[in-house]
Symmetry: C2
Subunit: 795 residues, 2 copies
């Protein structure tokens, strides 16, 4: 049987470490792997805060940035304040039973605090506050502890609170295990398979194994991987680890180190792998179980060594870094390319309003609150359209996850590249290692006018056309080798689009015996096939919380009509039905795009008798996982197997997955399958879980980087019989021209401003020197007056 | 059985009159219907030519429009010159056997010339000219005659030529029936079912029938349809006509006339229909076969009349025009909406080169020729990338068709709405009624920078990002009630995208008994379900004409590996195969987007052993017709039933359909099924026929107009192992920033210009007064010195 080294690594790398929910090839280059460490090291030094940069296009038409607004209510998803986080952290260290060690000082057998962030309040409580003048929900901190001072280490989610305006209140504040949001009931605990991964694993196991074949690695690749500063090779392996039969088994592979600053390591596999049983915390009990090279499995090191030194042994080539792997400009300059390409400008400044403190945004007839959490990144809350809530919650569930937050690189926004130059930027914050990190300018908000109109129609006498200006909020998250760009856009016709794009370095495979799993894309390289799947939660509330899923199928039929002379006509019609219960609510997009799903409210009938609702449409890349019942994932990502999944909303089912699902894949903290227990879905509070992604078979065009234009997936939510007509008729950014005989007799502009003004065009590059990186504030001991910059991966 | 009036009309209206190939609901408002007439009436008078307008944003950075270029060869698809067209027309009128009458004077029993345009030369001859220094192919005119001076009228395609540089050459020029490009071999003839449709049908039949129930129409709707100027009602019907059992049967319906200038008639159905057998040209032999109202079929007028005057007869309401049907601004002004939205500017002017005479375009490493024909509109030829031909031909086959050209409205381009304000505009020309009409500024060419980058990646030390600037050529075609926008875009990564968007008035249905066919969207209105399907021809030549279709499927598998302990692993792999012959070349897009199709050249292997090719990917709306074996269409649109169809290239199979396929649906001039005759498709010249479209179930948001943002379909052609890496690395519009500790240590801009400059922003609306409309030059008698403007629908 042919064996694929690609499969060995790629399929195992679906989900980034620390969380099953990261959809990318796993980033395991050395600098990334260190990001998992719990120790903070300020290797890049500190700088004091100063002004952030201004947008690079200044207009004399208008200098205005966004209009200042006031959120109608407190943003209950807005995160802990610096003082709250510091207070909770201090309180935790005062609880003797937790036996905590400060992260900087913690070793593999110490307990530490991994996360302190605001616990999102239950929807039930929030609706009471937002809609019924109830009190604001009490504030609690969600804390994740890493309990390593034990033979059986575990992670534990706990709740700390309630928290008063200025922090914990001694005597009132308590901690309790956090269990109710998870399907596994184990006091919020899940085993930690990585307790020894930062030190013991490498020093006591991986480098020792590598040392036993240094002669071979020197012979094959001229280098060694021994944990020394001058190593030219690196070793890292699969995630999740194999967890069958009560054993914990890992596969590790050899990689070339990048020879310069470029992040090329995932393009440099070397094709040699070894398997170890690393069950338990005692390295003396761990077992090396064999080697794999060029399609052959060797059960022992000596078997591999004997084969290697047998005459005729095929020694395969290495992948060697070169310009092919570097992203810099390369090749002849294209005609006229040194002239500036078109750029978008905002002659009237920003046309939206923001409450920057509360993170509340208003554009045209839309408004929403912004939330940000370490595990799920950007989310939008209480999205209203024309004053009515359409979505209670919209955000990523599974992708980046643990990694989205711990990796601070997402703040590397390049002005004018990631977002138009005139965009408004907001910060996001997350907690790691007793510090709060603020990603400066990590969210951008902007309007953009598309290259095509929203509406047009012409006759012999007139033409009518409407500009297609939309509003976008965007974040970019780097997960090791890949960068994900998340965009939520709002349109004049009432539509809301969700888009994700991927760029960056692919996780490649060694080429040998891999042609059933990818194309050969460089000298000794295979573009290893993989699926990116990202899950989004869309908690719709269409004119109230009681909603129903309507299904409309366009089907071919053969029918006799009263008017058809008794003959059957081959034609088509609509089959309308509803999703009745969770027994039938795990759906696929239909063949030939013939099935339309929508969220409607049967109690909200429009003037013409139709149910008001929003339609859910795939734009592209609305896919599910190719692999069925994955051996790697087991029960850890059951959300990935369908396109559209609908559940009854429960405060106990807030998320499709847990950041540590990879630690116990057979019995993970959140098994999405458990959400489906036959509950009735007629006129009740519904949550949609929607998958986006890309089936990626990298080819030469993915070198050095995959491009955003092709790695793109999106969904659209659009009004369906929701209003009485197209709401874009409200905009004055439309025109009607009347004409005839070569003359225009009227140009109707509906009151839009007509004056000219001057825009100074400045290439965006000049402002790129203002990049700052993250700002870090220490919470324990609390040191609010000494914030510092730190953007390296060691948070 | 429930009966649908929607189905009766909508399904019958898939294809606009005069051509099966128009994908929209049929536009039959009075002014459109008149567009079918052969008589030219200059009701809007004449104006002399003057300057076209300039783009509305002037930059002091650069005033340059496109760079002037010279096409490397003659554009052999560029159309006839004015002199050639006039010469051919004059020559035709000198051939006594054709018995032609000038269109202005022709009645229903006269022969006339419908079309004179350049016959596209055979690919065989063109390749000899382009690639092998052969002579330019001889020029022929493709002429369509409307032979009505006969009891059995017919259309005939003929070929006239050869044509010398200054026109026909007496003694050498001949005409012959044009038969070889059609699957039906009948001397280029197809019957004409519409010979009497402009006068006799209405005056002798439809208005007489309407008169017999004037009392009822007055009672129901307060109006009549009698062919008088003050009629408030209109009548029009299905296309194609029913053509079963040797009979020709039509259905007609009553509609309210629009009460103002807005094109609202297709929103005003009244719900009363009548059927007539109109076989032959003698109205005295035509038969009224019954009436249909509110779900009941009445076999005679008296039966309908008796029922109508029976007490209890349900009289249903009319659809009445109002603001709901008008596209003008309506409703409260949105917050900040009178401020200018963002706009794109071109600070360095245009960065592409054009040979405006030859219609040849060069942008970055792409170049192509532009063609334009009445029946198929814009097409691109000899598309080259990095000097190598990728596509010989790319263009619409089926949509608009006959109508795309006869309807002159597509020139209603609104600067800055349909295309960015700085776009370059070109004209297109077509022949009707002894005149050449020039759509001024009907093609636009522009660069645009997307709101997201093409590439980005960040690490702890640097971020790299590349602008996503692309180049688009666009045309807009109005087909009665709908406007189609066709965009062909070229990207820095070597991709080519094809996109179509639809906006405008839907063809609606009367609401009664229609809920299985649509939503009720206004007082008495149903948003009638329909499919838009548009067929594109993509004649790929990947590194030569000998190509093969590769199919790659991502499939779930369960496999035991040497390294898997003897256990089967649930994972996935690639199944690679090739399309062997035309027996297996009518394809569907796979479920879960798991199937990838590409055009590869097995004789062109890249450095790593993979076949070089281009992948064909749906972006969205890559669909086929829902209806199976449509009773309306019979054999007239067999191209619509699959997603991707591949044939061996033949000069005898240049087009998927014929403009008059609707005249004989059982035996049409081109039956696409006949292209599939088991020919081998391995390493031969391949043509791909690709369908795009929308399953459209209009809802209230389609009132007054469907919007372009949701009615959108597209395809992408992207390099697959075609080059050795991503070609976008060549652009200097990228940046790499090195940073650390809150400081930027380097900003690498790769030689891009850095200077600032001033752009004067002027709202695009001020230039809209420069709209001109079409320019018409009379060819017979030839009157080149008196061009005039004429944009009304009566060409």
């Amino acid at each position: 049987m042919r064996v694929s080294s690609s499969l060995l690594l790629a399929a195992s790398f679906f989900y980034a470490h620390g969380a099953l929910s990261a959809p990318s090839p796993d980033p395991k280059a050395a600098w990334v792997r260190q990001g998992r460490a719990r120790k903070a090291a300020s290797k890049n030094g500190r700088r004091w805060l100063n002004e952030t940069s201004t947008p690079s296009i200044v207009t004399s038409c208008s200098e205005s940035n966004y209009t200042k607004a006031s959120a109608p209510k407190v943003n209950v998803w807005g995160g802990l304040t610096d003082i709250e986080a510091a207070s909770v952290t201090q309180w935790l260290f005062a609880q003797p039973e937790l036996n905590l060690t400060v992260s900087d000082d913690a070793g593999e057998w110490d307990n530490s605090v991994l996360l302190v962030e605001l616990m999102h309040p239950n929807k039930t409580d929030v609706l009471s506050y937002l809609d019924n003048a109830g009190p604001a929900p009490p504030r609690y901190a969600h804390v994740v502890l890493d309990h390593r001072a034990a033979v059986d280490p575990y992670y534990q989610d706990i709740l700390v609170g309630p928290i008063e305006p200025f922090g914990v209140k001694n005597g009132t504040t308590r901690w309790v295990p956090l269990e109710y949001p998870y399907t596994r009931k184990s006091d919020g605990r899940v085993r930690n398979l990585d307790a020894d991964a930062d030190d013991t694993l490498y020093s006591q196991w991986i480098y020792k194994i590598s040392a036993t074949i240094s002669d071979i690695t020197l012979d094959l690749w001229g280098g060694v991987a021994l944990g020394r500063d001058n190593d030219t090779l690196d070793i890292w392996g699969i995630d999740p680890l194999w967890q069958d039969d009560g054993r914990v088994v890992r596969w590790d592979a050899f990689w070339s180190n990048a020879v310069d600053n470029f992040d090329t390591q995932t393009l440099l596999p070397l094709g040699l792998y070894f398997r170890s049983d690393v069950t338990g915390r005692d390295p003396s009990q761990w077992k090396l179980e064999g080697w794999y090279y060029n399609g052959i499995f060797y059960e022992t090191t000596s078997a591999f060594r004997n084969a290697y030194y047998t005459p005729g042994f095929a020694k395969l080539g290495a992948n060697v870094e070169g310009d092919w792997a570097r992203t810099d400009q390369n090749g002849p300059t294209l005609p006229l390319d040194t002239s500036h390409p078109p750029a978008s400008v905002a002659p009237s400044g920003s046309r939206f309003a923001v409450d920057a403190e509360s993170k509340w945004v208003e554009w045209m007839d839309f408004s929403f609150y912004i939330g940000y959490q370490r595990d799920t990144g950007l989310s939008l809350w209480d999205i209203r359209y024309k004053g009515q809530r359409v979505l209670y919650e919209l955000g990523l569930q599974e992708a980046l996850a643990h990694y989205a937050g711990q990796d601070p690189l997402q703040s590397g926004t390049a002005y004018g590249y990631d977002c138009p130059a005139y965009a408004t930027y907001l910060n996001t914050s997350f907690y790691v290692s007793e510090t709060t990190h603020t990603h400066l300018n990590s969210l951008c908000l902007f309007e953009f006018t598309a290259d095509y109109p929203l509406q047009r129609h012409s006759t012999s006498d007139y033409v009518s056309a409407t500009k297609n200006t939309y509003f976008t909020i965007r974040s970019v998250s780097t997960v090791g080798n890949y960068d994900y760009m998340f965009s939520y856009s709002f349109y004049m016709d009432g539509s809301i689009n969700v888009e994700v794009r991927a760029s960056g370095y692919i996780q490649s495979a060694y080429y040998a015996n891999n042609d059933e799993y990818g194309y050969k894309i460089h000298d000794n390289l295979s573009g290893s096939m993989h699926d990116h799947i990202l899950n989004f939660k869309a908690d719709f509330d269409i004119l109230g919380t009681n909603n129903t899923i309507a299904v409309v199928n366009q089907v071919p039929v053969s029918t006799v009509y009263p008017w058809s002379n008794g003959k059957a006509r081959n034609t088509m019609k609509l089959e309308k039905s509803y999703v009745e219960s969770e027994d039938q609510s795990r759906l696929f997009w239909g063949a030939n795009s013939a099935t339309q799903y929508s969220v409607i409210n049967k109690d909200a009938v429009n003037k013409y008798g139709e149910y008001r609702g929003y339609r859910i449409s795939p734009s592209l890349g609305a896919i599910h996982l190719t692999v069925e019942d994955s051996s790697n994932l087991a029960n850890a990502a059951r959300w990935a197997n369908h396109d559209v999944q609908v559940t009854k909303q429960h405060d106990t089912e807030p998320r499709a997955a847990h950041a540590y699902n990879n630690q116990d894949v057979h019995n993970p903290p959140v098994n999405f399958d458990a959400f489906f227990n036959s509950e009735n879905l007629t006129q009740t509070d519904l949550v949609l879980w929607l998958n986006l992604g890309m089936h990626h078979i990298p080819h030469t065009g993915d070198l050095p980087n995959t491009v955003f234009s092709t790695a793109h997936a999106g969904l659209s939510f659009s009004p369906l019989n929701y209003l009485e007509g197209d709401p874009s008729r409200q905009t004055v950014n439309q025109v009607r021209i009347e004409y005839g005989g070569g003359n225009v007799s009227a140009v109707e502009t509906f009151g839009q401003e007509q004056g000219s003004c001057a825009v100074e065009y400045t290439p965006v590059e000049v402002d790129l020197w203002n990049y700052k990186g993250d700002v870090v504030v220490r919470k324990f001991p609390f040191d609010p007056n000494n914030p510092f910059y730190e953007t390296d991966s060691i948070v």
